[in-house]
Symmetry: C2
Subunit: 356 residues, 2 copies
């Protein structure tokens, strides 16, 4: 596929959560349709997609029919089973490509990849077993954090080790899953860069945002981030370095720690990213449309910031704030249509647009 | 219905064109679903709606099932058959209400209504037959314009009368349809106000836009419009006057001629309006979301302009400009997914966002 997808073409999206939902909306602005593949019934993305397939990632028949019905395939989360990708890859292009998925599905592989590009990461050690953890506690020490190599998100699959005595309990909490120990980084704040690369190799980055987390989940992103001009340039160069190394097509999120010694890469996500939601109300072209443009072989759009924005997530019972937020000046609501409120569940977000 | 519709509730929309499409997208931002009722197959709105019914307005069974499946009903165009409205009105609330539809479906009724509110309109006369036209040519004269009372849009059903000798041909072009003769208004430019009224009676207006038409179809809307502060206030007051008189719930478009003697009402549309598309990139809450909020019993949102915008329509082969526009700074594209390009067909629009 080299020509841009025309009006009426269909983008297949693996995963039907809020990211798929907002990708579908962005596709519609370009005259494109979406088809969602999602194991769970009634996914949020299905309400604004042209078609939905409800089937397991192990259902090869459903996967094949899905792949045949679309023009190109993308995904809204990185933990898609390899077998599913192997199958659909024979039928339609997957963007971003397999290499980006392979690397980001495993924290150990990801850190080694980032190091190979000359980028700084936190001290880390592979922890296949408790012997390895004992050795790593000698070299990396505490405070540190033990994380499963795979399937972690929003603080899940992580255990903090504040003192060496907590190492055994942290290891036990991994429940036998291969893990990585990460050393403590003395950072002042976290920023993220949402970067896009088109099929023709053009790169565009949104302005870095400054992130605040609560209970391991993103709480707010503030644009612009506190960054010196040189660190701002570094952040963009780091993101572009990663995109080009992966021959990446689509949007990538890069989380960075700001330290006295410069920027340290925390992690990357091969997809649209929660910390990029501010772009919906701050730019002519938002991260969702930028991703769709890249995946559809279109040129990237203008992601220049026209307004400063603070994005805040609505988690669980934060939904009780909606009636008041709906009447607050400068607030743009983005709700995900999830009926059931659960603790820690992302229900929506809002962008506060700075004016004047 | 007095409580705001909760997450997961469904808004029924009569009509599945681009306005329904953008209403569906706006509903999704509030966690609401949409169900489109549209006689033509594969409507643009269907691609981003939760459900679509393809059936004629005469299909009472389909209409009934549609009405029962939704929580409230709105529409994207005003020429819905009265019999269809009579049926669904017994099942679910219709917003905006029947009175707004009755008045705006007939140019004669509309003009009389506007006059009854003390608003200025162009000189007009009812033209049921050619005798009436002869009499009206004496009082109103030429230049003037003959328009069908019903079912006109985008310059369709209209004939200009530049000199009295053209009156007979203009009458013939009405093909027997009841018509209205409108006298020429010496206006400098046209502006429109997109106004909203909530179920609780609150009124909010977007900033007036300045419209330029080509071949009877809106070409551009520029925000802000050229208007003195007092005329700007007049424009808002006129819109609010109309909304309150109709006990209106939803978004209404009001087109106004700017003349040396003040503002003259050209026409009203009881729905979201092409000249309000700029709000998608100029405001925290756009006209589509404002309409959905009103229809769903929510409070109106903040429609304050954060950026100046120029909206331009993409008509027919204007679609050839899309590849270049996709790469133009400050441009936000909004395409409607219509596969077939036809002369005069609205295929999309774009908003140019003023920055700095």
């Amino acid at each position: 596929m080299t020509d841009p997808l025309p009006t009426g073409a269909t983008i297949g999206i693996l995963g039907g959560g809020q990211l798929g939902r907002m990708l579908s909306v962005a596709a519609s602005r370009l005259g494109l349709k979406t088809h969602i593949f999602e194991p769970q019934a009634n996914p949020p993305a299905g309400e604004v997609a042209d078609a939905v397939t409800t089937a397991a990632y192990e259902d090869t028949e459903a996967l094949g029919a899905f792949a045949k019905s679309v023009d190109v395939i993308t995904y809204e989360f990185e933990n898609i089973p390899t077998t599913a990708l192997d199958l659909i890859e024979t039928l339609k292009p997957i963007r971003p490509g397999r290499e980006a998925l392979r690397i980001s599905q495993d924290r150990m592989t990801e850190k080694e990849f980032l190091q190979s590009l000359g980028l700084k990461v936190a001290p880390f050690a592979d922890i296949p077993d408790d012997t390895a953890l004992t050795a790593a506690m000698d070299s990396i020490g505490a405070p540190s954090i033990l994380k499963t190599r795979r399937f972690g998100y929003d603080g899940k699959g992580q255990a903090r080790i504040k003192t060496p005595s907590e190492a055994a309990a942290a290891f036990a909490s991994m429940a036998g899953a291969p893990a990585v120990l990460e050393g403590f980084v003395n950072f002042s704040h976290e920023v993220s860069v949402i970067a896009a690369r088109s099929a023709s190799g053009d790169v565009a980055c949104f302005d870095p945002g400054e992130n605040v987390h609560r209970n391991g989940i993103l709480h707010t992103t503030t644009i612009p981030a506190r960054l010196s001009p040189s660190l701002r340039t570094d952040a963009i160069l780091i993101a572009a370095n990663i995109l080009n190394a992966l021959d990446y097509v689509g949007v990538l999120g890069v989380e960075l720690f700001v330290t006295p010694e410069g920027l340290i890469v925390n992690e990357i996500a091969p997809r649209v990213h929660n910390s990029g939601h501010w772009t919906q109300n701050g730019c002519a072209v938002d991260q969702f449309e930028q991703h769709i443009r890249a995946v559809a072989g279109w040129p990237l759009g203008d992601g220049k910031r026209h307004s400063d924005v603070v994005m805040e997530n609505l988690i669980g019972t934060d939904m009780d704030r909606v009636p008041k937020l709906a009447q607050t000046p400068n607030v743009a609501l983005h709700l995900y249509g999830k009926a059931e409120v659960k603790t820690g569940r992302k229900m929506g977000h809002f962008n506060i647009i700075a004016t004047g």
